[in-house]
Each structure stands twice: as C-alpha cells, then as structure tokens.
Amino acid sequence: MRAVLTVVGKDKTGIIAKVSGFLAERKVNILDISQTIMEDYFAMIMLVDVGGASISLSQLAEECAEMGKNIGMSIHVQHEEIFNAMHSV
C-alpha cells in the first residue's frame, strides 16, 4: 500500500534526515521525494510504501503527526488514493 507523506513548515536544517530516519526505523520504504522552498517555507512530498512497514498506515499517520509537532513541522500521511481521486479525471 502506498501513501503520500507531506511535510510543511518553516525551513531549517535536518528535516529530511529526521523524517527519513524516522521512516527507516519503521521499515517504511521511500519511493520518491520532491521538495521545494516556497517563501521560506519548506514543503516536501514523499511517496512511500507501507506494505513492509512494522506498523499500520493509521499508526504511521499518528506517529508522524506527533513527531512533526516535536520538530515544529506539520506532517500528514495519507493513502495515495485520496490524491488520485481528487486530482485526476
């Protein structure tokens, strides 16, 4: 099962390291990354595979949101289908 992870917040050092380390610990595989800075704001979108992960998608969403709070970023993990459904005809 694939999910989209988004990280949005004020730019600082170590965001990608923190997030990717966090995912590796939970055996979540990163498939693709796109990252930009928009007016000082850091926005990263990751496509991840949670098929082999040690926790469920909903647990991952909760833990990521929590970890996001700790580093002052807003992190969402959502099933990829929600984006496919809303943005493709």
Binding site: V4, T6, V8, D32, S34, T36, A43, I45, L47, L57, S58, A61, E62, H76, V77, Q78, H79, E80, E81, I82, F83, A85, M86, H87
Partner: protein, 451 residues
C-alpha cells in the same frame, strides 16, 4: 509522482477550509424484522441495527486516519417504520424506542426512518403511526422522523398536510423544555428521496437493497475559498470554478464511500454532494452567496446566485461520480449556517425569500424557528406552499420549522451543536384555515402524465 500544488491544495482544503465527509450513513432494510408482535419486532429491529452497524464507528475512524480526511457524522437510516409497524400501529413507539436504543449502542448520533410515506393517501395504520410521532420524538434522543406528503407524480395529500401542521405543534409542545427540539428531528417532504444520507430526513427506501452505504460530502468553505481566489471573474468562469471544486469534493466522497462499503460488508449506494453548512465560521452557504457579490444573503439577486451555485455543484458532482444521489445541491438551513443566522438577526432574510430560494436549491425551509403561537393551520399552509414548489418543479422540497413554545419574533432558540441557534422569524398573520380544512388531494400537475 504527485504534483506538489495538488497535494498541498488537498491538505489546505481539509485543514483550513473545512472539507470533510459530512456523513457516512448506513441504510438498513428492516423488512425481515416484521414479526408476530410489536415486542418481537422491536427486538429484531434492535438486533438487526446493532449487528449491521456494529463497526460503523470503528471503520469510519480508521478511514479518517488512513485518508486524512475527517468524517464528521456516522448515521443509520432504516426502512420507513410505518411499514414495519403496520400490523400493530398503536404500538409503533416500541419500534421507535428500539431504534433509538440501537443508535446509542452502535454509537451513531442520529438514526433516521421513523417515517411514513403518505403522498397520495393515508391508510388507517399510517395515520395511527403518524399520531405517535410527537410522543416518540419527545421520548427519544437520536431518532429522526419524516413524512412524505406529496410528489410530482401523485399530487399533494392535503389531509396529511393538515395533520402534519398539528403534529409539528404537538411535537413542539411535548419538547417545550428544550425550545421545541423535537421539531428539529421532524421533516415534512414533497418528493422525498430514498437514498438521502443527511438527517433529519434520511430513510432507507423500499427500492433499496439490504444494506447500503450512502455518503454525504460537504465543503461550503472550499467553494467559498475557490470563489475568493478569482475575485474579478465573470459568472461563467465562476460557475466553472465551482464545478471543478465540486468535482474534487465528490471524488473524495466516492473514495470513502466505496472503501466504507467494502469494510462494512454493504453495497456502495450513492454520494450526495451537498453544500451542507455548519454553525462554524468559514462553513457557510450564505457566505458563498455573499462572496459572489451580495451585500447580504436575502437581498435581490440571492435566488439567482443560489441557482447558479446549486447547478454548478450538481454538474461537478455528476461528472465525478457514477452514483450521485440523495439531495445533492446547496442546503440553506437557517440555524445551522452562521451567515443565515446573522442575516436573519439583522432582518435581511425573511421566510418569503427563503421560500423563493427553495425553488432553486436542493431542499426547503429548513431549521427555521417561528413564533410559538403560530397556528397549526399556518404551519400546514407553509408546508403546502413548499410542497407545491417541489411538485411543480419536480424536485425535493421539505419543511423543518420549529414553532418555539413561548417565543416570539426577536427571541432566539439555541439547540446547540450542529443544529445551531435560530432567531425566531415572523410568519404572515392572515390565516389559511379554510384552505387547509378543505382537505382532499391537490391533483398532480399535467406534466406528471408522461407515460
């Protein structure tokens, strides 16, 4: 890979613009529950609802976490109870109580279907059933009731219209301690739909299959934001923007509906794309109309703006889902929409204008508080007017008014939560007694003869 802007747009819609799945409603057929006695039937009704809807709360919570989109309400709708109660109509309240208890047990906030369909005629057992409504609504918490009194095909059953004016008054009296709260759970329909997921008018039609999932999506805030983003656009472009936004919202709804149906062992029924406001700021249909360029909702131009909004929403929704149903359009419940509440308080919005608006939007006179001393025949006349609009225009119309006991124009009734607060609005003082007491059937319009 996903487009960054699209991903962030979705997150913005959810986080800042109140995009949500307003309701996941499980429709359950109660036909197999009819037993030899009211008591046995009530037991079976309770067991059936508890078993089928057992996991509705758990599954919707899972979906919220996985897809990151809030599901605000979980609800159940059932076969019109007047049919289930037909052999023992005088004991209908037992079924009402069983439904209310089952709703509590499975953890849904409302259960709809204490319903009678009497649009052409009213059998004795149906009349007996309808007479139990005030008592049942006063003695239950989560149960919602509706009565269909007319249709484009059959005309308007004016005997039922007369009766419902009295039933609404009685319901208000029996729940007077809570401002006539019972009336907020009672809808009088013309052209009621069988797959509506929204309360208080939801019931599970007899043409539906055993267990279905119908989903109601909402997002007045998202539409308002989309309109704000093109402040100088002409109305053609505006309609296009609304359509696109409605498309996206409906797609989210369809995804959740399919997944919920799969996990709950039910069929996917329909997606109802309705702009359903809540009392929260930024979640208002009135605000959309004002964003289009009106100084206040209720002024001249309101009907035109609403007509365009309603149509554009439908077009976007139909494109997005193969199974659009329910009411699908814009709702204008006064007490549940902060913009409508404020316009009514400022005296900018009156019942006559709301009535005109119901000719072009998806429902009717909804959640409107009127003076407690309003006569039953006046309420019946309000119902007749709404039903006439629905019958002639081949659309659903409804009346959910609250004659708030002891309150007069200028007072306010507060129901709390999603039902919001309603300023008491004036009704016309001249009576319609003679018209209402005539009874009979207003014949179906000529264009109903299509066979």
């Amino acid at each position: 890979m996903f487009n960054t802007n699209e991903v962030l747009e979705t997150i913005d819609m959810i986080e800042r613009e109140h995009l949500d799945i307003r309701t996941v409603t499980m429709g359950i057929s109660l036909m197999p529950c009819i037993g030899g006695s009211a008591e046995k039937t009530a037991d079976k009704v309770y067991d059936t609802v508890c078993k089928k809807a057992e996991n509705i709360v758990k599954v919707t919570q899972e979906l919220t976490r996985e897809y990151g989109i809030p599901i605000v309400n979980k609800r159940v709708s059932v076969t019109p109870a007047s049919l289930i109660c037909a052999p023992f109509a005088n004991k209908s309240s037992l079924i009402g109580k069983a439904l209310d208890n089952a709703a509590k047990q499975v953890g849904v906030d409302f259960i709809g279907g204490y319903t009678a369909l009497v649009h052409k005629g009213m059998a004795d057992y149906e009349k007996e059933f309808i007479l139990t409504i005030p008592e049942v609504l006063a003695n239950t918490e989560r149960l919602c009731s509706s009565v269909n009194i007319g249709s484009s095909k059959s005309g308007i059953n004016m005997d039922a219209v007369k009766l419902m004016g009295e039933i609404i008054k009685d319901t208000a009296e029996k729940t007077s301690a809570r401002g006539g709260f019972g009336c907020a759970k009672l809808v009088i329909f013309c052209n009621a739909v069988e797959d509506n997921p929204f309360m208080a008018g939801a019931f599970h039609g007899v043409g539906e299959s055993g267990t279905v999932i119908n989903v109601g999506v909402s997002g007045p805030g998202v539409v308002q934001h989309a309109i704000e983003s093109i402040p100088d656009a002409d109305l053609t472009d505006l309609a296009e923007m609304i359509k696109r936004t409605a498309f996206k919202i409906t797609r989210a709804g369809q995804l959740i509906a399919r997944e919920a149906a799969k996990r709950l062992n039910a069929e996917f029924g329909i997606v109802d794309l309705s702009l359903a406001p809540t009392p929260a700021r930024g979640d208002s249909v009135a605000a959309i109309l004002e964003e289009m360029g009106l100084e206040s909702v209720g002024t001249h131009g309101t009907t035109a703006c609403l007509a365009m909004l309603n149509d554009a929403v439908k077009k976007g929704g139909v494109m997005a889902s193969s199974r659009v149903g329910g009411l699908s359009g814009a709702f204008i419940p006064v007490s549940e929409d902060i913009g409508m509440i404020e316009a009514a308080e400022r005296g900018k919005l009156c019942i006559d204008k709301l009535e005109a608006m119901t000719a072009v939007c998806s429902v009717g006179l909804d959640m409107i508080a009127i003076p407690g001393d309003t006569k039953a025949s006046t309420i019946s006349a309000i119902i007749a007017d709404e039903a006439a609009i629905g019958m002639i225009n081949n659309k659903t119309t409804a009346v959910r008014v609250i004659p708030a006991p002891g309150k007069k124009v200028g007072d306010e009734v507060n129901f709390g939560g999603l039902l919001g607060r309603a300023p008491v609005m004036p009704v016309h003082g001249d009576c319609a007694d003679k018209f209402i007491s005539r009874g009979g059937l207003i014949p179906a319009p000529i264009h109903s003869n299509k066979n």
